[in-house]
Assembly symmetry: D2
Homo-oligomer: 349 residues x 4
């Protein structure tokens, strides 16, 4: 039997913990060998829980542990670019949560680093591609079930219950803004399904329930419309104020049919009939909706390492999705139609 | 152009008014010429509203109006048998709301009367057969889309909001009991779709939310299972305590597929997403659910008269459905498996 | 009882016949007194069928019939402007199918005519407002059930089965183009629900399955994104190539919830389970989907006449929806972001 | 950190392999230490794949391995009774797939054995209780969300694609018959949700598409209706000929609402719109539908061992569900209403 892949993870927030749990207990042929976090209390609790031999509060120190095969990055977005490059330079296979960086130029730096280490596996956490429904949709499209795709519509809406948390965070930090932070997965999916890069975009939106969004020059809910290079169409709605929960929905209209994924984000198979009518509860958040995808992408990462190949999601997917996200952001801020290739690469919108 | 069919209606309760409205304003080639009710206030109000030339508080008197072509019976169930026979004997075409009578022997008397007036149109108000979804299901079955039908499941549930009204009525009157009163449409549909008569039945149920049902020896909610002569199966659930509204649902399982009608009794095309989740409002009652069917059956009645033919629903359908309803009632009361042909014909269960 | 409103209809195509049928048989207090069509064969057949006293092949002649109270216009779009103005000038109440005219200036001419005849009822056939689901949505919004509306998304897709017919028509005639012809109802709904006028629009699209659309400078499927004056958002998708049938879908996202209408355009209550899975058939076309709305709007028209009031849908609704449709068209043709108030008023796009 | 629980599994068929995969890779704090199968080829392949230290072709031999903590039984049903008792006697914790045995008396023997080893964990594979939707339904019922449960309806339908395999098996082996083999999970769920034992049952059915079922005195599709001791109702439909796939559906009607689980057994979040309409693919089989439940029940088994407690599912649940299954079988065979407590305990129906 093959030797297990030894992984060190950095970042133990909500998503980081889910990844660590998967690496520790659910992914075959893999061992969670090291955890790294600046929060010392987390370290001691999880070290014991998952029986992890190594733990660090310093990322650079973890990179010096040559017992590890791979680094899994689940830290805050602002650290991604630097941590990816360092891990690659230290010779590790690298998995990083999206985004590649907070600015487009960071994404491009990462791309350069990845390309200069072609023998190391690099994988970006576009987990939706590994969700069974999204993967099935891709197969159907490739199979011609809907003819040629002509329009994609993507909704990415966070539950209203988390709006306060977000506002508190965003007032103190640079989040990237609605389109880069919330739509990035949708932008990647659109490129994947439509098989083309974005050419032009117009984005609108505002602070509707909470005017604080205007103050931080961000949108509570926004919409972007994209024309792709092959003249197909993209519609992207993102928001932070979804009353019914976490709502990720995608539709691809083709010349011979169409596919919808997640029209009603029903969290399980229950319908409750009561005086309100027929009621379906909706998803709570991304960990609940994409549990299987988070596990499957990690399995794929381990398989890639074991089989010496690169995953289907490439660093270029990360860069191009970021470029489009930036163009959305710029259009929203300038109120102009923006040509994606000409989007200015300013650091702070 | 053909002369209009002149109709006199008896009974102006909720359903009677709907029928009268249809006859007066929505059915081509038809004229509402007379209304009859023992409630004098109703008479004067509706006579003017629908511009009806004749009005009566005495049914026999209406039957003496030879200007009329047809009698439409929407009076309380206890009057049906007598009024049908009188109208037939007076030479009119007759439409009667279900049931043919409160007792099986009444139904059989009606059958004899109908058969002795073969040139007059007689139609029984099994309106579901004229509902677009139910009619479409029949076509699909005849077309072989689901192979041979092997099981039918029917739900007939009245809204909980009307339970008090029903209890008040049933304490003072003989309603026929849950299965005769509520399931009669389902029993007809089952015979229609399965193409066989019932052989054996077992019925259970009780008073669950309201023990008064036990006192009147009726069931608040009940279930009956039927074996048909061709060994196919029937499941019937009836109730008076549906929290979400009026719920009529039918499923036919065949050897090659199955059909469901009305799985969620959504009243319109709206889904409301709010903090409860994804919510569909349900139907309020039978007038709302079967509005189109009530109109279409009346159009068919008028067409039959104009074209000198009998409708597809026959008096025998009424008798056999009643017979099965009686067997359900007897099984529920005796707690025994009942052979339908041997169900005793007692008048008061 | 009140005297019946006597109506003359012009145009007996598919929709015209439906209207005539409603006027003749289904709308209380109304009489179909005259029909007008240039197709003589239609005239004789329908005159007898509906028992209509007067028939015309010349519109002006019908206007000279002072026995009539109202004119119902269901002729081809190119005639609307002229026929409306003439009927108003002749003193009749007028119902007209959309659009007010083929060009924005025609719509404005109609508005002037309507405003100079304030005592005559004028109603425009924006029937969706009278559809039960759409009307219920409006009530919910007014009631605050979803908070403040912030985004509306409208789909208007014609069945692929009619694409050839359309192309044959559009090669020989000026149809108005995708957005004016298909989206006009959606544009009206958006203004109605959002309570604001459009400020800016960007529209894209193309000929995907059939390049002939490019040749006639029209779009087979297209999308428009609108910013309203109150900074809310509108997304409009229109198309002529819907594989599954006639698909009218609307979503309104508010600050406290959202409403969807017609997510799956299921034609009836049947779900068929077979080797394909769980299958719902979809609507065939607008007459099937909006049967109730077509009837209800006509009832409202008659009520308005009888009660001496104007309907909620005003001529201004027609003008403003047309203006927005023109801006969509211009944006699609010029590939530019268009300010709606500045959309040039050229006659031929 | 606690020592890992070492498990030996017997039976490596489709479900056995799924369990083994879970034990080897997905369940924390657990180690797959031994596999046992009479099929030698399976042994060598899986020993390497899962890196299992011990392998056996002889069950008794595996029981002599005192390195093991627990035995996991996934062998054919005919072996369960014997293997459970032997494993308990050898001092192991035991997990067994349903049923406890092929005959009621076997189930009772197992119960005696379990009760005489109170310090060993015994768990029966009623995995549905660990399915998120089913568990959520239980919580809602306990919470009073639907008032008092009064009727449960359970569908258990195997895909038609597996009917030939089943017939080949059932001609050569004693399967237990439709109700014991297919409905056993539903019978357990009914007892769990209704909180009462069955009192009377009537069962019907037949061979509809395939008459071979009549030859082996079994039903291709069947229905059973149950009256519980608290006078609530149960309806059970089981079948082996579901055209659209694996269909497990449950409904609990209560005095204040109702719950439906799995109304449409849609396999993922995709709706495909094409010329057939709106189409949802359905589940393929039990491994796909209950993947999460199979994993969660095993996690619970390991937790019970680590925490020295018994699972909620008891051996008595297995015995009583089997008893009810036998009564269904007897009713189907004798065509009589059967009192569950009096169902004769014959070995071969």
């Amino acid at each position: 039997m093959a030797k297990k892949v030894k992984v060190g993870i950095v970042g133990l927030g909500r998503l980081g913990r889910q990844h660590a749990e998967n690496l520790a207990s659910r992914v075959p042929n893999c061992e969670l060998s090291a955890i790294c976090s600046v929060v010392e209390d987390e370290i001691s609790a999880f070290k014991e829980k998952w029986d992890v031999p190594f733990s660090y509060t310093n990322y650079d120190e973890m990179l010096r542990n040559k017992d590890l095969d791979a680094i899994f990055i689940a830290s805050p977005s602002g650290f991604h670019c630097d941590q990816i490059i360092k891990a690659l330079d230290a010779g590790f296979h690298v998995f990083s949560e999206k985004p590649l960086g907070l600015y487009l130029e960071e994404a491009e730096q990462v791309m350069a680093a990845v390309e200069s280490h072609p023998d190391q596996v690099f994988m970006l956490g576009f987990m939706r591609r590994y969700d069974r429904s999204y993967a099935d949709a891709k197969r159907k499209i490739v199979n011609g079930d809907i003819g040629e795709p002509i329009l994609i519509r993507c909704y990415g809406l966070d539950p209203a219950s988390q709006m306060d948390n977000f506002l508190a965070f965003a007032k103190a930090n640079y989040s990237g803004g609605l389109f880069l932070d919330m739509s990035i997965h949708d932008l990647d999916l659109a490129r994947w399904y439509m098989g083309s890069e974005a050419q032009e975009v117009w984005a609108i939106g505002g602070g509707y329930a909470r005017q604080e969004f205007d103050e931080i020059k961000d949108a509570e809910t926004g919409a972007a419309m994209v024309r792709f290079e092959n003249n197909t169409m993209g519609i992207f709605v993102a928001g932070r104020n979804s009353a019914h929960g976490y709502h990720i929905e995608t539709e691809i209209i083709g010349t011979k049919g169409s596919i919808r994924i997640g029209t009603v984000p029903e969290r399980n198979q229950i319908v409750l009939f009561n005086e309100n009518g027929a009621v379906k509860k909706c998803y709570d958040g991304f960990l609940e909706r994409f549990e299987q995808a988070y596990l499957s992408e990690t399995e794929e990462f381990i398989h890639c390492i074991m089989e010496g190949r690169q995953p289907e999601v490439t660093v270029r997917d990360g860069v191009e999705s970021t470029r489009l996200g930036y163009a959305c952001k710029q259009s929203f801020e300038t109120r102009q139609l923006v040509k994606v290739r000409e989007a200015s690469l300013v650091k702070n919108g």
